[in-house]
Each structure stands twice: as C-alpha cells, then as structure tokens.
C-alpha cells in the first residue's frame, strides 16, 4: 500500500540532500469507494425533483435567497467531479506525490453536497437548523475531546471521559435543581468532573495502575453511582432534586445578525460560548505558553522534562484534573444545557465518541474539535432527513458517522502518532 521514492533535490548551494517521500494508495482507494457509492445512488436509486437549500429563517433580518438545485442533474455532476478528483489523486500518487489536504476536503464537501441533494429531492433542507443542531450536538463531544487531548498530551490516557461527562450531567442537574441556579450547577459539574479526573490521576500516577484499566473501571463506577442515586434518591424526589433550570439562548448583538453564521454560531447558550473560549484557550495554551510546553514535555519525554526541573507527576496530576473539569463542563450540556432532567446513562457513549475524536484529530485541539463537529453534523443530519422523509432507512443514516469514521481512520488518517509517553507511568529512578 505504501511506496517510497527517493528524490534528489539540489539546493542552490549545491548541497545534495536526500529526501524521502512516502506516498500511500489509501486516499485514492477511499476516493474510489465513495465515487462508486455516489454512482450507485445515481444509477440504481435516481430521484428527480428539486432540492431547496434554505439558508435563512423568516424571522431573520437579512434574508439569504434559497438555493434550488435539480437533484438528478446535480448528482450526476457531483459523480463526474468526484471521478475527476479520484483520477487526479491516482495520478498524484503514481507520480510519487501526496494527495493534498485541500483535495480531501473538497472531495468530502462535494460528496456531502451530492448526498444531501439526492436525499432531499423534492423537499427543502433547513440548513440553519441542520448546522445549528450539529453544533449543539457536538458541544459535549468537543469538551470531551479537549479533555482527552490535554490528558493524553500530558501522558495520561483518559478513557474516563464518558464517566466525567456523566458525573458532570448528574451533578449539574442536582445542584441546579436544588439551588435554582444553573451557574452553580455548572461549577458543581466542573468539580465533579475534576474529582473523577483526580481519581484517575491518583491511581494512574501514584499507584501505577494501567491507565486504560482505571479509565474503563471509572466509567463503570460513575455509571453505577449515578444510576444508583438516580433510582434511589432522584426518582422519588424528582420535583426537588431533578428539575434543573436551563440556560437560555443568549443571542450576541450584531454578530447574531450576520446571515447564516449568526443564527448558527451566535444564538446559542452560554455553554456553547464557553466552548469557543475553551477551544481557543486550550489551543493557544498548549502551543504558545509555558504551561503548554510543560504539558507536552511530560507527555513526550518525561525523563527530559524531569531533568530540567519539571515535576512530572505533579504536572500530570493537575492537568488530568483540569481535563476532568473541562469534561465535566461538557456534561452540563445534557441536563442544564438542554433543560432535561437527569436520566440513567444519558450520555449514551458520547465519551467514547469524544475519545474517537481525539485520536481522529491526532491529539490536536483544533482537529479534534473539527472531528467532533463532524460527528455532531452526522447525527443531526439523520434527525433532519427523517423529518423531511429520507429515502434511506433511518438506521443507515444513524450508522453513517461511524462508517465514515472507520473509513477516515483507515483511509485518510492512518497510523496516527500519539504523544510518546502516552499511557506510561513515570517512575523516577
């Protein structure tokens, strides 16, 4: 699958340098598969009629005109373009060059456009609702993946994201219900997530227990604890303990009036705005501050970090605790973020999806956020298509994000490299 070619570059200074270009057939193969899928849709399940993309709501100040596309012709055009992209990628790889990222992005957008047009033939797609919902659904995933990124960059595998989200959701619901203050619920959720993170850190760092074991077990523990207290305490006293107030939508003046972008990004709840800040802070912090340098040092080469005077285990402990607090904050989305009462196992595997986003995003906060957004988009796509009456059984739509992830991980991401000391305890000798 992978070929290596040698290029002899001659620099202006007449110094000969050998460079090795590793090319891979994975991207062309993945392209070809998706092109065939699109072709199959066009040939075996043709749908006629117009697809209307609605870009604004009636209440918006600035109206963006709808985009009307004839479904059948559009799908054929997309198939042709996809085929061109596939051929181009094959040519690139044959001439020992890499498939550039922009081509992959363009390919994905084209495929998505073709699919949406095909699925929405004869009806109109509310794009604002689709994107708005995608962002909302991605919120816990983004917080979870940020927690995963910080933990793993510091060298501690955090499989307990699911447990931290659940602990955050539970505590937020209870504290907000009792006090009537969603903000207090938010703080309590962060504390709860932090506690789970601290248990993980204590077992992983002090007792050298395998981090995956602790993570898996903590998930079970938090599931058990929250479900137990739900059945035993919350359910009989639902009125006082489990009727959380919700954060109201908070449109940001001016920004929320921008067409398309405004309604999607700037008419959200406080939790979503906190998410923007968190992503920016984590990205900036990890790569441009002393804190970030230290976190990455203890995760990549703890011995070296120790040599220059960084306390490896203390750094790891507090960063895993911080990561827990971030994941706990993400858990608030499920209860006070949506105004829903806590229920058993209500996070439903979101923590594992966040974990997948961490690896998919190659341990980078921005890429992990994008991966989480992709998951959010795919799950909301199903909701939207089932409302307009999709030709595909809903189960297959629900399956789509997971299948796409498998393809992406196998075909495009490939062998992603975790931080070097990820998962290994540091034992000072």
């Amino acid at each position: 699958m992978t070929r290596t070619a040698e290029h002899h570059d001659v620099s202006p200074q007449a110094v000969t340098l050998d460079t090795t270009v590793v090319t891979s057939w994975k991207a062309p193969i993945a392209f070809a598969i998706f092109t065939v899928v699109a072709l199959a849709l066009a040939v075996f399940a043709p749908r006629s009629g117009d697809t209307t993309y609605r870009w604004s709501r009636e209440t918006d100040a600035i109206q963006v005109p709808d985009l009307v596309v004839p479904a059948e012709q559009a799908l054929w055009a997309v198939v042709a373009l996809l085929a061109v992209a596939t051929v181009y990628s094959v040519l690139l790889v044959r001439s020992k060059r890499r498939v550039p990222l922009w081509l992959i992005v363009v390919f994905a957008i084209l495929f998505m456009f073709g699919f949406l047009t095909w699925a929405g033939a004869g009806s109109s797609l509310p794009m604002i609702g689709l994107l708005f919902g995608s962002l909302s659904l991605a919120v816990p995933l983004i917080f979870g993946s940020l927690a995963g990124v910080i933990g793993e960059r510091a060298g501690v595998v955090n499989i307990a994201i699911e447990g931290q989200l659940l602990a955050g959701a539970f505590t937020a619901a209870v504290v907000a219900s009792v006090t009537g203050q969603p903000w207090l619920g938010l703080v309590a959720a962060m504390v709860a997530g932090m506690l789970v993170g601290m248990v993980l850190a204590a077992f992983a760092i002090k007792y050298f227990v395998d981090q995956i074991i602790v993570g898996v077990v903590l998930n079970v523990l938090v599931t058990g604890l929250t479900s137990f207290f739900f059945s035993q305490v919350l359910a009989p006293n639902a009125a006082t303990l489990n009727t959380p107030p919700r954060f109201d939508r908070l449109p940001i003046p001016l920004l929320s009036d921008i067409p398309i972008i405004g309604p999607v990004f700037f008419r959200q709840t406080v939790i979503v705005y906190l998410m923007y800040i968190a992503v920016a802070l984590v990205f900036f912090g990890l790569f441009y501050t002393r804190w970030g340098l230290r976190v990455r040092a203890v995760g990549e080469h703890p011995q070296a970090a120790d040599t220059v005077g960084i306390n490896v285990n203390r750094t790891r402990f507090w960063n895993v605790a911080l990561a827990g607090a971030i994941a706990g904050l993400g858990g608030t989305f499920f209860t006070i973020g949506s105004g829903i009462a806590f229920n058993k196992e209500m996070t439903a595997g979101a923590g594992f999806i966040a974990l997948a986003a961490v690896i998919f995003g190659q341990w980078d906060p921005i890429k992990a956020t994008l991966a989480a957004l992709l998951f959010g988009f795919a799950s909301n796509l199903q909701n939207t298509l089932s409302v307009i009456g999709s030709p595909v059984p809903s189960e297959f739509m629900l399956m789509l994000p997971y299948v796409v992830t498998i393809f992406a991980v196998a075909g495009l991401v490939g062998r992603s490299r975790p931080p070097a000391a990820d998962g290994k305890p540091y034992i000072k000798s």
Partner: protein, 459 residues
C-alpha cells in the same frame, strides 16, 4: 493511546533476568504488568533469596506470614471486602428508615444503628441468597437453584471476558464486544429460527455460524489495524454502533430477522433443535453454554500457554518490535488475535440467543455483556482461569443483584459500583495495603535490608 499490555515501569528490568521465564509468567503480560512483575521480582529476590548472603535466613513462620500478608490472594479478598463496605455505606445512606432515624440520632442512636444494620444485612443476605444458596427453601435442590443461576449469568461473561483477555495479551483493546455479540447473536438466531435441521447438527451449525459472525466483525478491526494502522479502539467502538443499527434495521424489516406477522422489532423464537439443552433438568436454567465456556477457557489456556501461536501472541503483546525482529509476523498476529477474540465474544452472543433468551431477541440482546467482559478480563488479569473465576464472581453479583432489587428494593446498579471498586482496588495493591496497614512486599524485612543496601553500593 498506547498498547494496553505494553510492559511498563519496572517490568523490563524483571524480564532481563530471563525472557522466557518472563513470558511463561502468566501475570507478566496482563495489563496489570507493573504490579504483577513487581510481585514476581519480590519473590525472586525476596527473603531467603540469593541477594542477601550476609543475612541470617528468616524463620519459616516469618516467611510464610509475610507471604500471606503480601500475597495476591489476600489483596483480592480484602479488595472484595472493601468494595462491599463501600456498597454497604451507600445502601445505608440511601435507606429511608436510616434517614428518618438519623433525625433523632443523638436522642436514640440505637434506632439509627439498628436501621443501618437492617438495611445492609438485609441487602447482603438477599445478595447471598440470590447467588449461592437460599436457606428459605425446603429442599436442597430448590435451595441450590441460585448457584445455578449464578453459573448461567457467568457463562456469557466468561466467554466474553476470555475474548477481551486474549486481545489484551496481544496488546490490543477490544471494546467492540457489543457489536461482535450482536452480529453473532443475529447469525446464530437466524440459523436457529430460520432453518430446519436435525437436533444437534442445528445447534452446531448455529453455534459455528454465530462465532464466525463475531470473528468477522472483530476481524475487520484486526485487518484494518494490520493493513492501515487504524487504531483498534476507534474501529471497534465504531463497529459497535454500526452493528447496533444494522441489527436494529434487520429486526424491523420483514423477511430478515423480524418475526413474521409481527410489527415488533423482535425475532421469532428459536426452534427446539437449536436450543442448548439444560444441563441439570428443566427446573434449572443452566444450559450447555456453561460447558462451552468451560471448554473455551481450557482452549484459550492451551492456545496462550502451550501453542506456538500463543507464544507469538504473548511476544507481540509484550514487545511488538522485538517480536518483529525475532521473525514473528506481527500484523498477522493482530488479525488472528482479533478473529479469536471476536469468536469468543461471538460465543457469548450465541449463548444469549440459544441458551438464555430463546423466545426471540431484540437489539438489546447483548445486555451490556460486551462491556462487562472488559471488567471481567481486567479482574482476571487477562489469564484464562483468572477470567473464569472473575466471570463466576460477576455472575454471582448479577444473579444476587436481581434478587436484592426484588427483595430489598436496592437498585441493581449498586452491583456495578461494587464490581468496579473491586477491580480498582485489586489493580492498586499499595492502596489496599495502606488501608489495612499491611507490609509492602518490596520493602525487605528489616534484617535483610542492610545486606541488600551493601550489595547495591557494591554495584
């Protein structure tokens, strides 16, 4: 993410002594490598060992007492006790009578203490009577029924736990138990209700079909890891969801898995020729599946400890780079390991449809066993017989948990808490030792310490 079974911490130094010995040591390749090999080293260089020639040999009683006090068995027992104590605290605190009596605790403390005792002892008595022996029944046969229930609940946990444990030993983490069980259950169920075959053969075909289904589903992750480097944790998690939605779709589509003439997403019942026979007669639920799980345990033990394939598995699990240098095809080991792992989880799925729930199944047939299996494998330290024992323990908790819920109104989730605490405590022996103030096996006895120090200085 790193390989879960990669030797870490102190382990490599222990292996330096003799790589083959380290390979044969069953705990050495388990995910709890750190603790296991530290213990192994402690026995190798412990009291009476060659490292302290100057020290007078400690008395036999002393040695024996130390071994009991520092051994793994004691840690395991103490871990279970600790977890049960935490469970007791939770039961007591959420009990209504305890809350009522706590209001006047300082006036009449005996009331609250009595209420605590009633709630905790009642719950744990129900747990025991639901899982091992019910003294309230008249005959021995009726009284022992809970024990057979325990074994019935343990059967899929053992099979699934073996699958996860085997993958662990090869350095892979199979979180995809749910998907593999669902696919296996669907294939076995489809053969079980859709075909007419003679008794025995029908069962066998369904069993093999289901196991192959599970193996293929896990094999996807193995092949992708070997060929493209896709991380098996992501792929197996994703395949869980894919399998769930695939099976849900088949269950509501007439002509595939849905029962004819029904609109529920449920299959028809299995044909009698495909159902696992009851082992102890019709009044007990225990079925052939338990013997299959027992056989699977033996088979996995044989594969891991006696076959050359198992040797390669463990070599790859401990150090894939060294294994590659030694001429082992690491990639095909990943594929084989996932295939076997998936087949074992498939056995758990087949066991559900042909043994436990024979009247037709829904998409919830896996009943969370795919995830429980991970805890079982961890508690069993990824060894076959350890997993077997852990499966029976968790089966007992499950059987007893249901009767506890029915008899005392204690939610079954308490079982999850106790189970996870047990694994957590067992994984961290130093914590348990600190709580019970037990001696540390690494700290040498006082008399020997001086001699050991001298030797270190000489090096």
């Amino acid at each position: 993410m790193s390989d879960p079974t990669e030797p870490r911490g102190e382990a490599p130094r222990a292996h330096d002594l003799d790589p083959d010995v380290a390979l044969e040591e069953p705990g050495a390749a388990s995910p709890a490598t750190g603790t296991a090999t530290v213990d192994a080293r402690a026995t190798a260089t412990g009291p009476g060992g060659p490292t302290e020639p100057d020290a007078p040999p400690p008395s036999r009683w002393h040695t024996m007492l130390r071994q009991i006090a520092t051994g793994n068995a004691l840690i395991s027992v103490l871990s279970v006790i600790l977890a049960l104590i935490v469970g007791a605290i939770m039961i007591a605190f959420t009990d209504e009578r305890v809350q009522e009596t706590s209001a006047y605790f300082f006036a009449r403390p005996s009331d609250m203490l009595g209420a605590i005792w009633d709630s905790v002892s009642g719950a744990y008595a129900a747990l025991f009577q639901g899982s091992i022996y019910n003294f309230r029944r008249d005959t021995f046969l009726a009284g022992i029924r809970p024990l057979t229930e325990t074994l019935t609940f343990a059967t899929p946990l053992i099979a699934g736990g073996l699958g996860v444990a085997l993958a662990f030993r090869v350095g892979m983490f199979n979180i995809g138990g749910r998907g593999q069980m669902l696919i296996a259950a669907s294939v076995a169920g489809w053969i079980g209700f859709g075909f007419d075959l003679p008794w025995g053969l029908h069962m066998l075909v369904a069993l093999i079909g289901g196991m192959v289904g599970g193996a293929i589903w896990a094999g996807i992750a193995g092949v992708l890891k070997a060929r493209t480097g896709a991380h098996e944790v992501i792929v197996t998690i994703m395949l869980n969801y894919v399998a769930f939605y695939l099976v849900s779709w088949m269950l509501r589509t007439p002509g595939l898995l849905q029962a004819p003439g029904s609109s529920n997403p449920k299959t028809p019942g299995m044909k009698d020729t495909a159902i696992f026979p009851a082992l102890l007669g019709p009044q007990f639920n225990l079925h052939l599946g338990f013997l299959l799980a027992l056989a699977a345990t033996f088979l996995v033990w044989w594969i891991l400890n006696r076959s050359s394939l198992g040797f390669k598995f463990r070599a790859v699990g401990i150090n894939p780079n060294a294994a590659r240098v030694a001429g082992i095809n690491v990639k095909s080991m990943y594929v084989y390991a996932m295939l076997i792992s998936g087949a074992l989880l498939g056995l758990a799925g087949v066991n559900q449809v042909l043994g436990t729930v024979t009247t037709g199944f829904t998409a919830g047939i896996d009943a969370g066993i795919g995830f429980d299996a991970i805890t079982v494998a961890l508690l069993g330290r990824s060894t076959p017989w350890g997993t077997f024992a852990a499966g029976i323990l968790f089966g007992a908790f499950k059987a007893g948990g249901f009767s506890m819920q029915a008899a005392e109104g204690v939610p079954i989730e308490i079982v999850l808490v106790v189970q996870s605490l047990i694994v957590l405590f067992i994984a961290a022996p130093p914590l348990v030792r600190t709580i019970f103030r037990l001696p540390d096996p690494n700290a040498k006895p006082k008399r020997a310490r001086k001699a050991a120090k001298k030797e270190v200085a000489a090096k």
